[in-house]
């Protein structure tokens, strides 16, 4: 769909998903790395738990479908080659660390060029000089303060999320600028603050105080309703399951069906299953229902969950229409028949003779298919090819650049 779009990605963790999304949608994406390799190549986990420039699985996952060149953008040669290359491309994406200068600032791009810059905080603002890492950017998003249990410290994702949130919004910002250019032929600068992008996963925490409400608190592990701890995740026979108890006209009926199932399985008193869960909250206020009944429901669900496997809970959720699902680990994801048969996966080569199924098709189209046409580039894999084909450099010139450490 983007087969007429050419992208230069100055590789950084926060550009990787942006480049991958554009490449998956058909753009010709070239990652530009310093001769020592992109910082993205040093992100865990590593193939076989052995680190190496070609062994980062994060790099592999987020750079397939791209070609790779090395250039020292801090040298006159690197800058000159970048300037020449840029004339042949539509988009350049970069991520600049807090307070650091962009290596692209000295390059004058053509008016058609779309330049997307990701910064940790707003590019020109009170925190633009802030030293920042993915970890501190996420802390600033508002999501971790709400993640985990109130009696313990906040928790973060084990996979860096700032680079994902920012990368995805950088793809969108770039495409918005591309649509504008389709109309009037002119490029422009697009800016993404990783922190604001990551606030998407904080679900409007920022608008709570301004609407006259008390701040929300971290309660993800267990909601407390009428003094009763109501968990969202339950231990089951072979792992964990998410089971949500809701009330009110829509969600209450799901709770009703859930309780009925528990009673049928002999895990809950029939009387508890027959309580009107749709009206439970208002009945509590009217003293027609009592907290111990809710405790009995929770205890019954704990007992029910322990007697069932993840697959059985998933099946019951589909059959009965419940807000329940298995808490899948990555093996479950890899094995899940729904993802398999739907065509989420496609083969990707990691190293010679080593292939895995990657869940690459983030969207399915009636007349386009996301395919992994090439694995993530090895360091400098396409440098000679691109300098020759795009810029007409001779074989001797390319070797001279290598000898000087420029590529």
């Amino acid at each position: 769909m983007l087969d007429d779009v050419r992208v230069l990605e100055i590789s950084a963790p926060a550009t990787m998903l942006a480049g991958r999304m554009l490449a998956d949608l058909g753009a010709d994406v070239i990652v530009v790395e310093p001769p020592a390799g992109s910082p993205g190549r040093r992100l865990a986990p590593f193939l076989g738990d052995i680190p190496g420039i070609e062994r980062s699985l994060t790099w592999q996952a987020l750079n397939c479908n791209k070609r790779g060149v090395t250039l020292d953008l801090s040298s006159p040669d690197g800058k000159g080659l970048m300037r020449d290359l840029a004339t042949r491309f539509d988009v350049v994406i970069e991520a600049v660390g807090g307070g650091k200068e962009s290596l692209l600032d000295s390059i004058e791009f053509s008016p058609r060029m779309i330049r997307c810059t990701v910064t940790p905080f707003v590019r020109i603002g009170p925190k633009s000089e802030y030293a920042a890492t993915d970890f501190t950017v996420m802390a600033a998003s508002g999501a971790p303060a709400m993640t985990g249990d109130l009696d313990r410290p906040p928790l973060f994702f084990p996979v860096p999320q700032g680079m994902m949130e920012a990368g995805a919004d950088a793809a969108i910002a770039t495409l918005a600028a591309l649509i504008a250019r389709d109309r009037d032929g002119l490029g422009q600068r697009a800016d993404v603050s990783a922190r604001i992008a990551a606030m998407m996963s904080a679900f409007g925490q920022a608008i709570v105080p301004g609407s006259g409400n008390p701040e929300a608190k971290r309660t993800q592990g267990a909601m407390v309703i009428a003094g009763v701890q109501v968990p969202s995740v339950y231990e089951c026979a072979d792992g964990f399951a998410l089971i949500t108890i809701g009330f009110g006209p829509v969600f209450g009926q799901m709770t009703q069906r859930l309780a009925k199932w528990a009673a049928e399985e002999g895990r809950m008193d029939q009387r508890i299953a027959e309580i009107s869960w749709s009206s439970f909250i208002s009945d509590l206020t009217a003293r027609k229902a009592s907290p111990p009944d809710l405790q009995a429901l929770v205890d019954g669900l704990k007992s029910l969950a322990r007697s069932k496997s993840k697959a059985e809970i998933a099946e019951a959720s589909r059959r009965l229409g419940l807000l329940a699902s298995p808490v899948m680990n990555m093996k479950d994801v890899a094995d899940y028949v729904q993802y398999r048969e739907r065509g989420l996966f496609t083969r990707v080569s990691l190293e010679a003779g080593r292939e895995i199924d990657a869940p690459a098709r983030f969207a399915q189209f009636s007349n386009y298919s996301i395919e992994v046409k090439r694995p993530a580039p090895k360091l400098s894999e396409h440098t000679a090819e691109i300098l020759e084909a795009e810029l007409g450099l001779s074989k001797a010139e390319i070797q001279a650049l290598f000898v000087a450490g420029e590529i």
């Binding site: 738990d49 802030y130 970890f135 410290p153 928790l155 918005a176 409400n213 949500t244 994801v333 009636s366």
Partner: protein, 403 residues
Amino acid sequence: MAAPLEGVHVLDLSWVMVGPASGRYLADMGADVIKVESSKRIDPVRTLGPFKDGKTGPERSLSYHNLNAGKRCIAIDIRRPEGREIVLRLTQWADVVLESFTPGVLETLHLAYSDLKLRNDRIIMASTSLLGQTGPYAKGTSGVGTMGAAMSGATYQIGWTDREPTGPWGPWTDAVTPRFIVASILAALHRRSHTGMGCYIDVAQAEAGIQFMMPAYYEYAANGTIPERRGIAGSPLQAPQGVYPCSGEDRWIAIDASDPGHWEAFRASIGGELRDAKFDTIIGRLRHRAELEETIAGWTHEQEVEAIERRLQAAGVPAHVVSRGGDLVRDADLLEAGHLHKINDPVFGEADIEGPRFSLARTRLHPTRRGPRIGEHTKEVLAAVLGMPETEIAQLGESGVLA
């Protein structure tokens, strides 16, 4: 300069979070987004808080405004043949249609892509659901973002090792999925501008969540290791990187001084026991991590969190308050960027909602506006967009179609 999607028409049949948030991106980019709702079947997000001043009511949900800012809204009963015909006529007007019904529902209403395409073969239609439109468990499966998080492998990996997983905050895939929908729609609009070709787009929310967890998936697929929850905030390969308690209730500072340069700046600024030779090297800091973390926590716990952020930033050390809502609303960076916008709603008065998540220098995004009330623009849209005579509108109103 006009916003990039000025003149692009979007028919938004979606509800709750994923679809509406996708439509919001398009509205911010200048598209004319018409949300289809019904007072008989209101958008459930209207029942979710925060509510202005904590008072509930379908026109008081700020989550609703945050997800539907800048759209127009028509109230129609699409189950009635006349209501369905309005949807089909709006399809002729639209460039993009968004929907998030349980897979199979639109087929029964004869409003599936195949039906819409008959009226407008250039249409770009995006459907989103928990598990997608195809595959053995697709049809009839509905779900929410907490289920998406659970089925994407995220929930399993977030929590304490001695407890059940807690999972990410809220319906996490509802935040992730709109990015993949919007990028797909924009790519399709670009292609259509050259080829005239529309398309159907199917995005499964659980699959979108997997994209943000891709490194963990690769760890399993390549190494055979199932990534487990860690029970710590930071990375096991990087120290010090973590959250440390500060004075006050539930106040935490995030510090990442794991990079050697940042570490030297950090220990020079704090001094004391951090100067101990056992913390000189990366290996030393990892081997004595518990002691290191304890020493840092001993330094932070009686101090005010923002003071620590300022002091460490002045020394060039990555540090930030673990922000809560109250911090975000007075954050200098967000205020300067104008990320929080005051809206003035005729029903509840003033409140904050968020602005767009990126900026364009030339073709600026649309200024942030409030969301529409249920059916606020029904007559305006029927008359101006569909050219419907007033008598016909009145007739439809009387027969209960416009409700």
